[in-house]
Subunit: 497 residues, 2 copies
């Protein structure tokens, strides 16, 4: 015999054993059901793509997150192109839209697939995970964005997550704050540069106005004071690092703060504050009108303030999005953060075809949602689909056991025929450990009488808890019924009701 | 603007557009439904595994089929282990069984996942494809094998593939032929070896007795005469290659041929011929009894000769299997070959734990099945789940369109709200191209009357075919009904019945 190989997984990867897998499957089926009601159609793309398709114009942070894949054709042609595993489902969608002219426009597609990121793993941060995306491609109308928000709500309701909140904002409204605070399109920032082991110098670099948002994104973690200083002259943090300032004047930061203070649990109030704050900003009314239109449409369709909030603090990778942005949180499990997010990105296909195709969509982190629902105990996760375990008491009766199992299956009742070689006590324990609700027992006694014994495991467990001993419980046989053999299916159906 | 990237895929990979993807999803859901009735529970494993886990004891042919994956942790630790993409679902199952002691025994699991093979692609041969596996782990009883065969039949029936045939045999019965023909455990074979550009020599090598099966596997392609010569003295083929012979005597080959001639569409007759042919072989009765037991059990459960055949010619990678082997073919689409195969392999986990754990299972090639069902036109494949397209005729009525779409969705009727900017003719064409059965039209006329117009696209198409012009058809409005606005849902339900 060869040496054995240690069974193990690479860091950041994991198996989903049946209990988690069943819960994941229920989540995916539920999401799929909602998305199909909206007319989204399924798309499948391979996990492996050309590296330039994946990374093309993406930033270097994305590029370093890609798992590379060996190209087997390089044996023959060493110059053949490099491959990688997809890191999201949006890039493959963009490629597909550019590649197949026969696709309808508008194109509504969903895709649920694994994606891979070669980032450092951590608690809840995996290197392979499942995304479930919807996107409407080829639609300018903000009705498409409303539909995405509505679909997010319907999905979370269908998943029975308890209370949730979808927050939305718009990149275009956020851009108004730059006008409002008169931030120039380009900022000159002094950055400290190391010139030797102990020497340094300052260099002036150009930053885009949107860097303001990058700084504002730190509000939660760093607090208002530090953000204020980073927007103006910069500061030196606790570890001695110099944080360069963006060079804004105090009055500019005041105006940004005025914008930041716009908040209300009522969308109509947020809109009113926006109209009044930006009353002097050219073009503001039009952008706010669009958001107001979305809000009214949402109200009309029954998506009210209790679950859809207009929250100007969400930013969601602004470099990427071009219009409305959305994200959703579970109010009973806030520690899981955003489980669902998206927005409008009108430059989707440009990288492949040069054509501008508007698109809007959202992505669910299935694994994070699974973790949250398991944590909330809001999901029925079973170790087996079987509802009945047909025990094997007497090896002479093997064919009768098989006949009973198949009778149940043909009646649509999932059933495990016990095929091991253990005694009846161990068989009942096997069923109990798997959470199978009914155990079927049939021996020479039952055979003589023309009956079958059905054990209701939940009823059995209650008595067992009282007695404290499993052995007693099996002997006492609570929750047990003996039914005529020819009434097996009806009896099981009744017990499962 | 940066240069555009050409949208394209690596050789041997493909996208599944909505129509194929919907069919694939139906296949997977159907198979899952059957497997869950048998009590198989879902398992998920990552696509990326350590290379030694994947390839360990596997032959070099498997090793060269593995797509390698770059290990991102090698940046820090250049000695960190190599990674690859799984090439089947059996190796991950074996790893999981060895890794998690908490799993039940017997363990019934199903897994549907992508697998990757770096082989040369060809028509119908992809480098990424989907397998759907079931396995019963930890069971010696041949009842487990019977269940796999029954599950294969039930699956093919549920998939409505038309006539099919599951063929089974047993590695152990095949081994009897070696005894019967008195083939020694080791064969000495003379092989020609190239010693220089124009010189060669002969070398004697040892081959296992099971090499006989490797040769017998060529029967279909090479024919009896060539197989006979390869089993005896060898021959030179058309291209001048020397095919070495296994060195058997003519009488030995006669006995093998006698075995090969055992065939009948009736399992009982095959068994009878086996009993009489091997009557003098020690231990034969026991092995044949086991197969006879399987056959009787199958008959008792309703799996008769019309769909389950005992066929001694199937070999199915004998190096791997240790007991019964099975495969299934679609009789209406024989060109797709075996779409479903498996067998008993009792050395599953040995490589990881040193422990012998018996197991039996089967694997469906989902892509091959999909291709066959699409070819047979036996699968309902739609480009969208939407049953209704709500057209946008008058932009003033946008909110009413949205309200109607959401009303239908909330009634469980999948619906696309048209969000593009094309005219009504193009919108109807969009719905027609997607195969949406009902188009909803609502303009100022309908609004004034409090009605909605529903167009039955199938009825429309019939008339259109007659008229030969789509324009005519739209003008004529056949298959069109006008219903009260408040009866929208009921009317759509009636039309979809």
């Amino acid at each position: 015999m060869n040496e054995t190989v240690k069974p193990r997984l690479f860091r950041g990867l994991r198996d989903l054993l049946p209990q988690q897998m069943a819960a994941r499957q229920w989540i995916i089926d539920t999401i799929r059901g909602v998305y199909e009601l909206y007319g989204f159609a399924p798309l499948g793309t391979p996990a492996v793509e050309f590296l330039d398709v994946l990374s093309g114009s993406a930033g270097s942070d994305v590029q370093s997150s890609i798992f590379t894949v060996g190209n087997p054709d390089r044996d023959k042609d060493p110059g053949d192109e490099a491959l990688g595993l997809r890191f999201d489902l949006t890039v493959p969608l963009a490629r597909v839209v550019a590649q197949y002219s026969e696709l309808p426009r508008p194109f509504r597609r969903y895709q649920v697939s694994q994606v891979w990121r070669a980032d450092k793993p951590g608690p809840g941060r995996f290197r392979e995970f499942t995304q479930f995306d919807i996107d409407s491609v080829g639609v300018d109308s903000w009705l498409a964005d409303v539909e995405i928000i509505a679909a997010m709500c319907d999905t979370l309701s269908a998943l029975k997550v308890g209370a949730y909140q979808v927050r939305f904002s718009s990149r275009k409204v956020l851009n108004l704050v730059l006008k409002f605070a008169q931030v120039p399109e380009e900022l000159r920032v002094k950055v400290r540069v190391q010139t030797g082991p102990d020497s340094f110098d300052y260099k002036s670099v150009t930053r885009p106005a949107t860097d303001v948002f990058r700084v504002l994104d730190k509000l939660d973690k760093a607090g208002l004071e530090k953000v204020r200083r980073e927007l103006t002259r910069g500061y030196t943090d606790e570890s001695g690092d110099e944080i360069p300032g963006l060079g804004l004047a105090a009055e500019q930061v005041d105006r940004i703060e005025k914008f930041l203070s716009i908040a209300s649990p009522k969308r109509a109030e947020v809109l009113q504050q926006l109209y009044s704050t930006f009353s002097g900003v050219h073009g503001a009314r039009e952008e706010i009108d669009a958001v107001a239109g979305m809000s009214e449409q949402l109200t009309e369709l029954g998506y009210d303030d209790d679950r859809v909030v207009l929250d100007l603090s969400i930013a969601r990778g602004l470099a990427y999005y071009t219009g409305p942005v959305f994200e959703a949180r579970l109010l009973d499990a806030p520690q899981f953060g955003s489980v669902f997010g998206g927005g409008r990105y009108d430059e989707l296909v440009t990288r492949f075809s040069g054509e501008r195709i508007p698109a809007t969509g959202a992505s669910i982190g299935v694994d994070r949602l699974l973790a949250a629902l398991l944590d909330l105990e809001r999901i029925d996760s079973r170790k087996t689909p079987a509802k009945v375990l047909v025990c094997s008491i007497d090896s002479e009766l093997g064919r009768e056991y098989a006949a009973m199992a198949f009778e149940l299956r043909r009646a649509g009742i999932p059933c495990e025929l016990y095929l091991g070689s253990k005694g009846i006590g161990k068989q009942v324990k096997h069923g109990d450990a798997l959470g199978i609700p009914i155990v079927l027992m049939y021996g020479s006694d039952e055979r003589a009488k023309g009956t079958v014994t059905l054990k209701d495991m939940a009823a059995g467990r209650k008595v067992s808890d009282k007695l404290g001993k499993r052995e007693e419980w099996i002997r006492q046989r609570p929750g047990q019924v003996e039914v005529p053999r020819d009434q097996l299916v009806q009896a099981v159906r009744r017990m499962l009701e």
